[in-house]
């Protein structure tokens, strides 16, 4: 492992300073919590470059609810997200996912912006953000723009983000009344484990138990996190019976393309995806009294 003693670190306190330096100094790389980047720099996965330390830009650390939209600053840590009453009320899926990110030490330092831009297909915040149709606010020298989370990822670690831009905020419009959902994650041990498969299921059910809207998102089974339209199609319009839940769970294999790696084989990931989607649907059906 290499040391970073020869790396220059620019420390800034405001978003304006950060954007100015990103535009004027070539080759700077942003560091937020550093829980991904420090390991990648030290192991040589990412070539050593000078750093722009934004960890103290406090104006990007907040959870707010304004104009019907939940807004999470990019530098908000997973511990802050997990603890936030606003997140628990308006995006409980994301609070569930936040609790599973690494250890408490990682939750205290890892930020949602870092998780998004690091762009691991196994990142735990992403299936909830896909299920919630989240939007990113991106800022740069040309002003601000908004990108839907699905459109932000162009392929494996390929992003709609320029070198002089920062992710500033995550926006979530709460889905509204009648929605129930859960995050799930399979790791190789119970704590501090990267997902072999993770995902989020979010449903809107009528009082009779008919699915009115369905959102099924899966991670670690394709170059990017994916939604499963095949599974969602099986669900919408049907009563959440065990038979429908199985068909919906089995349909996810149409929309994923897992690979073999150190954490599991492609076949294992396919089976986990089906079983976890079924278990999560079943959990929702039980909690809402659709099945006993």
């Amino acid at each position: 492992m290499q040391h970073l003693a020869d790396v220059e670190v620019y420390s800034v306190r405001t978003l304006r300073e950060a954007l100015e330096l990103l535009s004027s100094v070539k080759g700077l790389r942003v560091i937020a919590g550093g829980t991904d980047l420090i390991v990648q720099l030290k192991t040589g996965v990412v070539p050593k470059t000078n750093l722009l330390d934004v960890s103290r830009v406090d104006e990007l650390r907040y959870v707010r609810f304004e104009d019907g939209i939940l807004r999470i600053g990019a530098l908000t840590t997973f511990m802050e997200i997990y603890r936030s009453e606003l997140v628990r009320r308006h995006a409980p899926l994301l609070a569930e996912a936040a609790f599973t990110v690494g250890s408490f030490q990682i939750m205290n330092k890892g930020t949602i912006g870092g998780n998004i831009v690091n762009a691991s297909p196994a990142a735990d915040s992403l299936p909830p953000l896909y299920a919630l149709n989240a939007e990113l606010k991106i800022v740069g020298p040309r002003g601000e723009r908004f990108v839907r989370i699905q459109d932000f990822y162009k392929g494996y670690k390929k992003l709609d983000l320029m070198a002089d831009e920062l992710v500033a905020e995550v926006r979530i419009r709460p889905p509204g009344e009648g929605y129930v959902g859960h995050f799930f994650k399979h790791g190789l041990r119970r704590g501090d484990a990267i997902a072999v498969v993770n995902g989020a299921v979010l449903l809107r059910l009528s009082p009779e138990g008919i699915v009115r809207d369905a959102r099924v998102a899966l991670g670690a089974v394709a170059p990017t996190v994916v939604r499963s339209p095949s599974s969602e199609r099986v669900l919408v319009g049907s009563r959440l019976s065990p038979e429908v839940m199985w068909r919906a769970a089995e349909a996810v294999v149409n929309d994923i393309s897992p690979i073999d790696d150190v954490r599991g084989s492609a076949a294992y990931r396919r089976e986990l995806s089906v079983n976890y989607v079924f278990m999560t649907l079943y959990r929702i059906a039980r909690e809402t009294g659709v099945v006993a």
């Binding site: 220059e8 420090i38 390991v39 690494g102 408490f104």
Partner: protein, 160 residues
């Protein structure tokens, strides 16, 4: 020794922070980690290095009161903050007594990180449940004890 392992470059910076309650100033490269600075510059070796990549929890310290990995914290991120290492915890603290009484230490390499993480838990939740102890320590590996006695020690300190 660190002269070989961690060559100082021309890029040093004066970094001030509060270490275990004392104003401290060190001249280090801002890309040094807090762990490298503690162990190789300040020669405070209570904080251990196991993996240097966030996996083992041995380097756990509190920065502004919350547990983080010193191996994943750059000195630029410590500037102006307050750091607590295992050396800053009173040797007579009930948590440390409980570790001794319960025999929760074997080789001891994981102990400082676990003590710091558990110290923080008890400051937030004075009487934690076993589940809460397990979650708070899920990022701390121990290759010797099998965790049973460690968990018992933290629960015991919580009852005091």
């Amino acid at each position: 020794m660190y002269g070989l392992k961690f060559p100082h470059s021309a890029r040093t910076r004066e970094i001030r922070f509060v270490l275990n309650g004392s104003e401290t100033s060190v001249r280090v490269p801002p890309g040094y980690t807090l762990l490298e600075t503690l162990r190789y510059v300040l020669r405070m070796t209570g904080t251990k290095e196991g993996c240097a990549r966030g996996d083992c929890g041995e380097c756990t310290v509190l920065v502004d009161g919350v547990p983080v990995h010193a191996c994943l914290t750059l000195m630029s991120q410590v500037e102006g903050r307050s750091v607590l290492t295992v050396e800053g915890i009173d040797r007579q603290h009930r948590l440390i007594r409980a570790f001794v009484e319960e025999g929760a230490v074997q080789c001891g390499h994981c102990t400082p990180g676990i003590v710091v993480a558990a110290y923080h838990l008890l400051s937030q939740v004075p009487r934690p449940t076993e589940e809460q102890v397990r979650e708070a320590l899920r990022g701390n590996l121990c290759r010797c004890t099998g965790y049973v006695k460690i968990i018992r020690a933290v629960l015991k300190a919580g009852e005091a």
